[in-house]
Amino acid sequence: MLRRETGDGQFCPGSEDLRRFRAFTCAGAASLALAGATLFAGGLGDPALAKTPKAKPPATVTTAVRRITESQYRHTIADIFGPDIKVNARFEPERRQDGLLAIGSTDLSVTTSGLEQYFALGGSISEQVMDPKSRDTQIGCKPADPGKPDAKCAREFISTVGQKLFRRPLTEGEISARLTTAERGATLAHDFYSGLQLSLTSLLLAPEFLFRTETAEPDPASPGQYRLDAYSKATRLSFLFWDTAPDAELLAAATSGDLQTPAGLNKQVARLAASPRLDDGVRAYFTDMLQFDQFESLNKDAATYPKFSQAVADSAREQTLKTLVDLLIDRKGDYRDIFTSNETFINRYLASIYKVPFASSQEWTRYTFPQSSERSGILTQVTFLSLFSHPGRSSPTRRGIKLHEIFTCQPTPDPPANVDFSKVQAIQNGTVRTRLIDHMTNEGCSICHQSSDPPGLTLEHFDGLGQLRTTENGLPIDVSADIDGVKFSGAQGLGKFMHDDPNVPACLVKQVYGYSIGRAAGYRDQSYIARETEAFAKSGYQVPALLTAMATSPEFFAVKIPAGVKVASQSDTPTSPTR
């Protein structure tokens, strides 16, 4: 049962209140019982006012409800309360679809066990925020009497922080619900801050924070059409460029309406792209695209790979992200060079895996792989090589499958269930190439293995952890390949091959688009993707240019009215993208 809000922001009790009231009294909390009684007295709402008024016109439609990711949660908290706040929790598993968690997360909700985590985490964050040492700065106002409720200061805090968390101004209903909580808590605990702490926890637990709700409103420029409202636009931009909630300036541009004008949009996009915080956005995107979430559960057999540890896994992840930020943002490089560049960064852990000396006194140092290392580009870093291997050995098939899936948007179907495996037998001797020959010639297996294995085999000079080797079972490893008539050899050959594959930049454009809008780019998006890919090429494959071009295009904010929504101003026909 819900409680109904009355016009003056007070509440009349539904059965939920009765239940809670009973609980309070049975627990013998006299003061709380009194508070409960006060609430009851506030009661008797007009049913006509039962529906909470929203700060938007009634013709709006919620077009998406997307659970925020762990890194978006973390970045938002750090932005609002500072980097010292500890966010210590295990987040609910995310789900990859069409290559991206960002797309899969649009299907996700919060399960009971997940809510428990958010509940405990929210409590821990608000406790840190209300720490007596720092709370004055965090809250921004002081109560008249710290032993009592103070509606004025509480309101100020709730609406300020609430706006940052909900990525839009709070409605009166949302504020007054938290004011009630703050008052209740302060009364019960005889402490203003305890009450405010509860309010903050409730904001952190709210679906309006945990989910990105995108809202469409009637488009004044095209009657009958819908457009994304300004706050939803601000949120899309901010999460793409900075992986966090919109900052004050972006929210202000939404409030003023500037963001709905081309000039206002261009100005904000330029600002977002020029900020050093673009690093966060680019890191978040590639963490998703390169499937680094899998590091959480990466296991290596300790006897086979004694050098592997969590520190190695964390370092490897950081190495690739540093490499990408350096190349793509700092040096405004060509995206395709991620497959060929020898420029990278290493730390002590990685130096040991790459078998190179580490002389720096810094934690990380720039490093250029020499030709003899056989390494070039991110495919030859520990990330890709270890992530897509087995615990005790490399896997050309997995590497090949992931290569296609991640970089060229060509997923490999599951192996046919009814394939005749009787001929697929283990061979103890020889190299993995001999073992895989059968897959490549066996009917039923061949169609996929002929595509996945050849590029995977060119990476075979790197074992399941990414360490260089040239023999297996005493035999030299053959790393040559012939793909569609293009002959090359080894990881460096593969890097060059990928660099020149036109599917690679097109795939990036497609995935960045899907990442932003929360659904896979489909057939109807093809011409848009093609246009953006062309522009991307013209820019010299510069990623910041790509982001800017997309974020200022109308398609980036296209609205799709979801099934099951009655649109007030028109029939059931979904609207096409607004231009």
Binding site: S109, T112, L115, P207, P562
Partner: protein
């Protein structure tokens, strides 16, 4: 199948078996869960769990089965891959020959089997079910009077659960003994046998956090589409369960004689090797068993190892999954020796799990006697991703409602019959389960008391 009659099968027989499989003992709200049960010792609460392991068991087309007992009915013999169950054999029923039926849908490898068993629907794609998993229905029926409606664990360290209400969002499992311990016995835990119990005022404060959230429900749901509504419904279901959890914490817990609060476990090793997985599994089973004895939860889900299991024998470069596919069938033995060895090791996990539950004395019997655990896998013979003869087991006496210790053999009937049986034994209000060719209203009455 043998002709056996009892009160339940008679009733069903008379009505032609159509949709009347409603479990007789019904919901536990009809049972005495208010503590009187503990006093007279006759009606202890019944618990339910699912236990999944990856890669099936060995049953080669050449007839070299390593797990299906020869003897049918009661008193089946222990087979090599079921060896770990020997100590509790009389408390376990074995179901062989049941299959997942795709109805034209593809065999989504390492997914269709358990998706069918849990949701009753052959899934369209990997990673999601086309309906809720039935453990959530059981949790709704019996899980409301314990602190947690259900607990999920995944001892292999992969954050994996197959328990879902929406088919898309799956529960978050505990993946280490320490995190499981913290969840159950950490903050918010109330020792049911503490004579000096007092309500914790903090709980009331927590309740007011949730009330602010639920206040906004209507506003939030006003203009959302169908798919988004499902997500928000799930969210608010979670909030309600949280409210229920807090409400229970304000009530004096019933005494639980069998409850002995365990000590904090040590940090676990992190590895997919089978020895480590089994070690963690055992430690977590111990904590979970006590959580049930202490009435913290009545429902659980355990994923011992995932579908395409990455587990392996420490030091061996080849994982179990690879062995199942490319290990040759030994001509003399008639099966894949390493795969079978690994299957036995994986099943050791289930044996250990049941042993931990059987070690908790409760009333005249053990916790296992008052529980029903459905053990199952994703596949039959893993080499060919077979959806036939998927091994399924029902363990525990279910408070006298499970006639355990039998081997039920089928000629390719739907796995959902076993799922339905589990639901009816536990008393969930379900008369029919599954869709299409897997739709059934016929539980396996031989094992129902």
């Amino acid at each position: 199948m043998s002709l056996r009659f009892n009160r339940r099968s008679m009733l069903r027989g008379l009505l032609g078996g159509a949709g009347v499989g409603l479990g007789l003992p019904a919901l536990d709200i009809f049972l005495d869960v208010n503590g009187k049960a503990w006093a007279d010792g006759t009606k202890l609460p019944v618990r339910f769990g699912t236990y999944f392991w990856g890669l099936g068991l060995t049953d080669t087309p050449t007839g070299g089965t390593r797990w299906v007992p020869t003897k049918k009915g009661p008193g089946y013999e222990i087979t090599p891959e079921l060896a770990s169950l020997a100590p509790v054999k009389d408390k376990v029923s074995v179901f062989s020959g049941f299959r997942a039926i795709g109805d034209g849908r593809p065999n989504v490898v390492h997914w269709s089997g358990h998706a069918s068993i849990l949701s009753g629907i052959a899934p369209a794609v990997t990673g999601s079910f086309d309906g809720p998993s039935f453990d959530t229905r059981i949790a709704d029926a019996i899980g409301s009077s314990s602190r947690f409606k259900s607990i999920d664990i995944s001892p292999s360290g992969k954050a994996l659960s197959y328990s879902t209400r929406t088919g898309k969002s799956f529960s978050t499992p505990e993946i280490t003994p320490v995190s499981l311990y913290e969840r159950i016995y950490g903050e918010g835990f109330q020792d049911p046998n503490n004579p000096n119990w007092k309500p914790d005022p903090k709980v009331m404060l927590k309740q007011s956090i949730l009330s602010a959230v639920t206040d906004q429900r209507q506003a939030l749901m006003a203009d959302v589409g169908t798919a988004d509504k499902v997500k928000l419904d799930q969210y608010f279901t979670s909030v309600r369960e949280m409210e229920n959890q807090l409400e229970l914490q304000l009530q004096k817990p019933e005494k639980c004689e069998a409850c002995v609060v365990p000590g904090r476990p040590g940090e676990a090793k992190k590895s997919a090797s089978i020895d480590v997985v089994n070690e963690n599994n055992k430690a977590m089973a111990k904590l979970l068993a006590m959580a049930m004895a202490c009435n913290q939860t009545r429902v659980f889900n355990c994923v011992h190892t995932p579908g395409a299991s990455e587990t392996y024998i420490a030091g061996d470069s080849k994982i179990y999954h690879q062995y199942t596919h490319d290990e040759p069938t030994d001509a003399k033995l008639g099966y894949q020796p390493m795969s079978s060895k690994l299957a036995g090791m994986v099943m050791q996990g289930f044996g250990d799990f049941l042993a931990e539950m059987d070690a908790v004395k409760e009333g005249d019997g053990t916790l296992l006697d008052n529980s029903l655990i459905m053990g199952f896998s994703d596949t039959g013979y893993a080499k060919i991703h077979s959806l036939e003869n998927i091994p399924m087991l029902l363990a525990g006496g279910a408070g006298g409602r499970h006639k355990a210790g039998q081997h039920i053999s089928s000629e390719g009937e739907s796995v959902t019959r076993v799922s339905l049986t589990a639901q009816q034994i536990i008393g969930a209000p379900v008369g029919e389960f599954g869709t299409g060719a897997m739709k059934t209203s016929r539980p396996i009455t031989e094992v129902m008391a």
